[in-house]
Amino acid sequence: MLIRTAELTKRYEVGGEEIYALRDVNLSVERNEYMAITGPSGSGKSTLMNLLGCLDTPTRGTYYLNNQEVSQLPDDRLAEIRNKEIGFVFQTFNLLPRATALHNVELPLVYSGITKEERKVRAVQALQSVEMGDRAAHRPNELSGGQRQRVAIARALVNRPSLLLADEPTGNLDSKTGEEILRLFEKLHAEGQTILVVTHEKKVAERAHRVVSIMDGRVASDLRQKG
C-alpha cells in the first residue's frame, strides 16, 4: 500500500465562516496504480492533491505514505518527502524561466545533495526518457507547451519518486499535445510508476484505471475500469 488516508479533512476559515475543502476522505492507493481524481470546480481536487503531495497538512485525519504517518510532520521533513517520494506535474508547467531544461530537471537532485556530475547524468537520462534529450540546453520560452510539460515530467521523475502527482497536466495543451502527454503517462505506468492525475476532463479521466470523483469535499464514487 502506497497511500492510505483516514478521515482526511481540510477546513478553512474565511471571514469567520468555516469552509470544508475536504471532509473525511478515506482513500487507499496501491503501488503502480494509475488513478484519476475528478469532480466539478471547487469540489476539493487540488486540496486533496496538495495533501497527498505533502505540500499541505490536514486539519484532521491521518495520511500514511509508504507506511509512514506524514500528516503532522514539520515543514522541513515534508520538504524531504516531497523531494524523495513525490513528483509534481502542474497545469502551468512551473519551470524556472531563466534556467535551461537540463537545469530545471536537475533541481530536485540539487536539494537531495547529489554531486554535480551525477546530477547531470541523471537529468540527461530523465530528459531522454521523455524524448527531450536534444532540448537540454533550451530555456522554457524556447519550447512549445507540450515540450515544456515533458521537461516538467522529466523533472518530476528524475529523483525516482514513488508517486507522480499531476494537477490538470493537459489543461494548457491542445488535444493532440495532450494526447501525447497521456500516452507518456501510460508508458510510465507500464514501467511501474504510480500515477495520480487530477482532472475535470472526462477524456483524461477515462485513460486511468481507477477514477475517484469528489463532490463538496467528499469521495462521491470510486470506480475501477479495465485492468
Partner: protein
C-alpha cells in the same frame, strides 16, 4: 544545497537585473570608496609625518620664536611681535645648558641663486651653525661641509641642495665653483644627497652656508632657530627645562608670565597630526557608517522586491524539496553577493581615487591591504545583516500560496 549552487543562482539573478543591481549598491560603492580613500590618505600622511616632518630626530627639540604649526592669523601676529631669538641667545644656551649633547642654530629665507647666466629662484637659503643639521637625514653627497673654524670666520662657502646643483651645473662638478646668492659670491664646497620632497615641497632646492656668513649678507634681524639634542630620551625634559630657564632669564620674564618663545620637538608635530587625523577619521567613519546603513536599507528593500517577484520560483523550489534553510541561504547569498559587488566596485574606485590624489596633490595616498580587507568584511556583514529579513521572509513562504502567486 551546496554553496556553489546558491552562488550561481545569486549571480544569475543579479546579472538579469544589471542596472538595478548597480543602482542598489550605490550606497555601498560610495561608502567603500570613501573609506578606502580616507584610510589611504591618513595612512599616507602618517608615514609622511613619521618619516619626513618628524625628521628632527628623536631627542632633538628646537628653541625658536613660535611653534612649527601656526593655525591662525592672530597667532601669527602675536608671534611676530615677540622678541627674536638671536645668536646671543645661542651663545648663552651653549654656555648654560649643561645636559645637551649638541646645540646648533639656523636661519633661512628664499633667494635667487645664480651661476654664470643660469639661475634658480626661491632657493631655501639656510645659514647653519653646526654641529646639528636638520633634517636629521641630511647627508653630503659630494665634497664636504664647512668646518667650525670656517663658520667662526664667516667664510663665504656654500653646500648646494641636489636640485640647485643639477639646475645650475647640470652634469658638471660644482665643487670649487663660485655661485651668487643675490649679488654675493660663495664658493661651493659640497653637494647634498637627494632627499625628495615633503608634501610637494622639494627638500633639495636648498643652499647651506655658515650662519655667520648668512647674517653678514642678510643682517641679524631674522630670528634664528636653535636645535638642541638631549643626551637621550629620558633627559629630554630636563634639557628642555634648562633651555627654558635660560630663555626666560634672558627675556626677563616674571614667574606668572607665559613663555614668549617656543620649544618644539617632533612630538609637537605628531601630536598635532594625530589630532587632525583622528578628527578626519571620526567624521569619515560617521559618514561611511551612515551611507552603509542607507545602502543596507536599499539592499534590504530590493531584496524584498526580489523575493516578491520570485515568489513562484520559491514555490517551485519548495515543491521540489527545498527546505527553509535552502531558500534562506539562496537569498542571503544573493544579498551578500549584491553588497560585496558594491564593495568591490567601491574598492576599485577608491583605488582609482588614490591614484588621482597621488597625482594631483602632494599627499602620498596609497591603498593598503588592511583597508581593502576591512572594506570587504564590512560589505559582507552589511549584505548578511540586511539580507536576513528578506531571506527569512522567502524561507517562510507557504509553498501552496507561493505556487498560486501570479
Amino acid at each position: 544545497m551546496p554553496f556553489g549552487e546558491g552562488l550561481s543562482i545569486a549571480l544569475r539573478a543579479l546579472w538579469a537585473n544589471k542596472l538595478r543591481s548597480i543602482l542598489t549598491v550605490l550606497g555601498n560603492i560610495i561608502a567603500i570608496m570613501s573609506i578606502i580613500a580616507v584610510m589611504a590618505v591618513i595612512e599616507g600622511m602618517n608615514s609622511y609625518v613619521e618619516n619626513k616632518v618628524a625628521g628632527l630626530g628623536a631627542n632633538v627639540f628646537v628653541v625658536q620664536r613660535g611653534p612649527f604649526i601656526i593655525t591662525s592669523h592672530e597667532e601669527l601676529e602675536k608671534i611676530q611681535k615677540r622678541r627674536r631669538v638671536t645668536v646671543e641667545d645661542l651663545e648663552q644656551i651653549r654656555r648654560s645648558v649643561s645636559t645637551a649633547s649638541s646645540i646648533g642654530a639656523y636661519d633661512s629665507s628664499a633667494h635667487k641663486v645664480r651661476y654664470q647666466e643660469r639661475y634658480v629662484e626661491q632657493v631655501d637659503v639656510q645659514g647653519q651653525d653646526l654641529p646639528i643639521l636638520l633634517p636629521a637625514n641630511f647627508e653630503i653627497g659630494k665634497g664636504r661641509l664647512f668646518s667650525r673654524a670656517e663658520i667662526d670666520r664667516s667664510r663665504p662657502l656654500a653646500v648646494l641642495g641636489s636640485e640647485v646643483a643639477d639646475k645650475l651645473f647640470e652634469k658638471a662638478d660644482p665643487v670649487g665653483k663660485e655661485v651668487r646668492v643675490e649679488s654675493v659670491a660663495y664658493t661651493v664646497v659640497g653637494v647634498a644627497k637627494e632627499q625628495g620632497s615633503v608634501l610637494g615641497v622639494s627638500q633639495d632646492k636648498t643652499l647651506l652656508m655658515p650662519l655667520s656668513a648668512y647674517q653678514k649678507q642678510f643682517g641679524t634681524l631674522g630670528s634664528v632657530s636653535i636645535p638642541i639634542e638631549a643626551r637621550d630620551k629620558e633627559s629630554m625634559a630636563a634639557t628642555k627645562d634648562e633651555a627654558r630657564v635660560v630663555m626666560r632669564v634672558r627675556h626677563r620674564l616674571k614667574p606668572n608670565q607665559e613663555d614668549d618663545f617656543a620649544l618644539e620637538s617632533s612630538e609637537s608635530l605628531t601630536d598635532f597630526w594625530k589630532q587632525i587625523s583622528q578628527a578626519i577619521f571620526m567624521t569619515a567613519s560617521g559618514l561611511v557608517a551612515l551611507s552603509l546603513v542607507v545602502g543596507g536599507i536599499v539592499i534590504m528593500n530590493i531584496m524584498l522586491v526580489s523575493v516578491t517577484e520570485r515568489t513562484r520560483e520559491i514555490g517551485i523550489r519548495k515543491a521540489l524539496g527545498a527546505k527553509r534553510r535552502h531558500v534562506l541561504w539562496q537569498f542571503l547569498i544573493e544579498s551578500i553577493a549584491l553588497s560585496t559587488l558594491g564593495g568591490v566596485i567601491g574598492v576599485l574606485l577608491g583605488w582609482l581615487l588614490c591614484a588621482v590624489i597621488r597625482a594631483a596633490t602632494p599627499v602620498p595616498a596609497s591603498l593598503s591591504l588592511v583597508s581593502v580587507a576591512l572594506a570587504l568584511v564590512i560589505v559582507f556583514l552589511v549584505g548578511l545583516i540586511f539580507g536576513i529579513y528578506p531571506a527569512n521572509r522567502a524561507a517562510r513562504l507557504d509553498p501552496i500560496e507561493a505556487l498560486r502567486y501570479e
